[in-house]
């Protein structure tokens, strides 16, 4: 009580709090001014939704940029290109998919089997969060080693997309039935990916289940009865191995998907395949970029920026070499004849039903995906061991290594994560925004603006700034169209905002002073 009084009397506003208030004030001001000018609820909600979805797309590029800079001091100028890779790979996969529904169903189920481990692990971990919250002892029993996610990601992602591509290529060359070859390719590569992971027979899944349940039951019983919970070792508990969870998850989800396949539209399946392939390609590109190019230059910070710049150049020029300079339009417009109307998926088509304004379902979808990523990464940073390592590494990566953590591996993982999110942003944006070789640069610029405004190395700042920048852009676009009959002022508004923030607060809104 006394302390509370004291702190109230000597009230001093925290710098971050001040920035937060200023930011929110700015957003409110922006909205109020727009609302007063628009005087039309429908139009207003359209502007806001448009700003939000754009902010989320920028965020997907900026997230990796922000974390990577915080951890490794690398400002990755190729982040926008990673997004572009996502868009173009998604496009390639989508246009190489079969027009036959059944083939796609088979492909996707193979796909799911490869992809399941991650999904399962995530599901289990997320489901357990409330439990961990209230019964800390359980958390120690339930959480397995930090490498789990990394291992799973790598092994599972080598699955179906690669198989799909291989299959298509082989089919084209041999001139045999394309669909058959695709399926065979996917099966072969998926099997290869699983060899590493599943060395044990299926039995392990069941063992894991019993193990987990019994441990938690015994601990829980002890807590309910009010006695000291028995130490975990004496319960015969062995932290479940990667393959245990993987296999169990695979069985459950495959069964679930098999049920689902009879009812779901195939357009959704295609989109799912394309998205996973895009994420896979982005992640792989990220890993290659970090290990081959950026790692040797950690000692030369100047050259690092220059190097990523060069990588961005090569990726852009390669895309131009392959596809030409011209705008591709959205994926929808550019698909082969048989596949017209397969993208975006049916349930994402059309207008948002309740509002009767031109808010597209697809906007809502993009906003939801962005928010999911935002919250997901936040959970990863705050709740998991990897998150602890990343946050500690931001401060002093040398000390983290001296504690026995392989920091280089963490660096690669974080880079790959950022790349994956950017690629996901790419394939998602491809459903609505036209994809072209310049999209990498355009989004990179905005993402840089977001990261700098939010403060380099501050993830929360980046998230907030993404929304602010998205809204600013959308509002500026509205006013510029209304006053000057042109869209051009929107990007300028963002850049001016960036310059002002930099000059007023040199290290961004939530960045650390240096």
């Amino acid at each position: 009580m006394e302390n509370a009084l004291k702190s109230w009397l000597t009230f001093k506003i925290d710098k971050n709090t001040l920035s937060g208030i200023l930011t929110i004030g700015f957003v409110i001001l922006l909205l109020v001014v727009t609302a007063l000018d628009v005087k039309d609820g429908k139009r207003f909600s359209q502007i806001v939704a448009g700003g939000l979805y754009h902010g989320m797309l920028i965020f997907m590029v900026a997230a990796g940029l922000s974390i990577v800079f915080g951890l490794m001091d690398v400002l990755n100028f190729a982040q926008g290109s990673l997004m572009m890779i996502g868009a173009y790979v998604g496009f390639e996969i989508l246009s190489s998919l079969s027009t036959d529904t059944k083939t796609n169903a088979v492909l996707l189920s193979i796909h799911v089997v490869a992809f399941t481990p991650i999904a399962t692990t995530l599901l289990i971990e997320i489901a357990m969060i409330p439990l961990y919250r209230f019964v800390p002892k359980l958390a120690e029993a339930g959480r397995s080693s930090g490498h789990l996610l990394a291992k799973m990601t790598t092994s599972a992602l080598i699955g179906a997309p690669l198989g799909l591509l291989l299959g298509s290529t082989v089919a084209d060359d041999l001139g045999s039935s394309a669909d058959t070859m695709r399926v065979i390719g996917a099966v072969v590569v998926t099997a290869l990916a699983w060899v590493d992971m599943v060395r044990d027979p299926l039995l392990f899944g069941i063992k894991w289940f019993i193990n987990e349940i019994s441990t938690r039951f015994q601990t829980g019983l002890a807590i309910i009865q009010g006695r000291q919970a028995p130490p975990i070792e004496t319960l015969g508990y062995k932290p479940s191995s990667d393959s245990d969870k993987a296999v169990l998850g695979a069985i459950l989800l495959s069964a679930f998907m098999a049920m689902l396949l009879n009812t779901t539209e195939t357009t959704t399946l295609r989109f799912g395949i394309a998205a996973v392939a895009a994420v896979f390609a982005g992640t792989l590109a990220g890993i290659i970029m970090e290990t081959i190019f950026i790692r040797p230059t950690y000692v030369r910070p100047f050259f690092q920026i220059v190097l990523t710049f060069g990588i961005a150049l090569v990726i852009r020029e390669t895309v131009i070499y392959q596809y030409g300079v011209a705008t591709q339009g959205t994926l929808t417009a550019y698909l082969p004849r048989g596949l017209q109307g397969t993208f975006p998926p049916h349930f994402l088509r059309g207008l948002f039903p309740d509002l009767e304004t031109t808010i597209f379902n697809y906007w809502i979808f993009m906003i939801i995906m962005g928010l999911l990523m935002m919250v997901g990464v936040q959970i990863l940073l705050m709740r998991t061991r990897i998150g602890i390592i990343i946050r500690a590494g931001v401060q002093d990566s040398e000390m983290v290594e001296a504690l026995g953590v392989n920091v280089r591996l963490v660096f690669t993982g974080v880079f790959a994560l950022g790349a994956g999110i950017a690629a996901l942003g790419g394939i998602i944006s491809a459903g609505f925004i036209s994809i072209d070789p310049a999209m990498g640069d355009i989004f990179l610029l905005q993402a840089i603006a977001v990261v700098i405004i939010g403060g380099l190395g501050s993830y929360a700042g980046t998230s907030l700034a993404a929304i602010v920048v998205g809204l600013t852009r959308s509002v500026a676009a509205y006013f510029s169209r209304q006053q000057f009959n042109t869209d051009g002022l929107a990007p300028i508004a963002v850049l001016v905002l960036l310059c002002i923030v930099l000059l007023v607060k040199p290290s961004g809104l939530f960045g650390k002073e240096h």
């Binding site: 946050r391 500690a392 002093d396 040398e398 001296a402 026995g404």
Partner: protein, 235 residues
Amino acid sequence: MSEPILEVKNIHTFIGQFHILEGVNVTVNRGEITVLLGRNGAGKTTTLRSIMGLANVRSGEIRFNGREIRQMRPYKVARLGIGYVPEYRAIFRDLTVEENLKIAEREAGDLARRLDFIYTLFPDLQRLRKLGGAQLSGGQQQMLAIARALVAQNELLLIDEPSEGLAPVIIEQLMAAIRHLSDHTTVLLVEQNFHMASHLADRFVIIEEGKSVLAGRMADLAGDDELISKYLGAA
């Protein structure tokens, strides 16, 4: 009892182009506390960093349990069972006390196993476990830094200037804790505070201008005022 756990033989370490260590020999026996003494800038901290693999050791030999660790990456050295407590209490200021301990886990359940031991050694930490690292006092930060090195099963602890900038009362507490520790593990200590060093250590090594010049039993040094003033300035 006097079986060596760590042998450093004639190492030469460079920072950038500067030749910092020009032949340092240190032997640490199992179960003892060995202290590195010397003036500021003599190369004591660099010696510890060389052992951890954090500095560029160009030549010489570093053996831990008979195994050569000179060219190893720091995390591998740490995983062999060496805990490092750096100077200036380098805890992670943005993390809570619990998270600071959690990060030092090498296998799942490490922390759970050792938590009781850590909290009996430093009761303060249990009270403060939800607090951020930046909110701790200097002494508490030092305790946390040492506790962090205790989470994993380490055979050897390298502790760099634990008493630096702390109040005498806190130093007494720390000394008690380190003495208690040495029943379980081996300790290599860097210490400027001769009072603390002489009460804790079994053996000493004096480093001067990047060379180890004298080594022996602490009891012999503590009685010899001439030697103390020659190498360490004031007694």
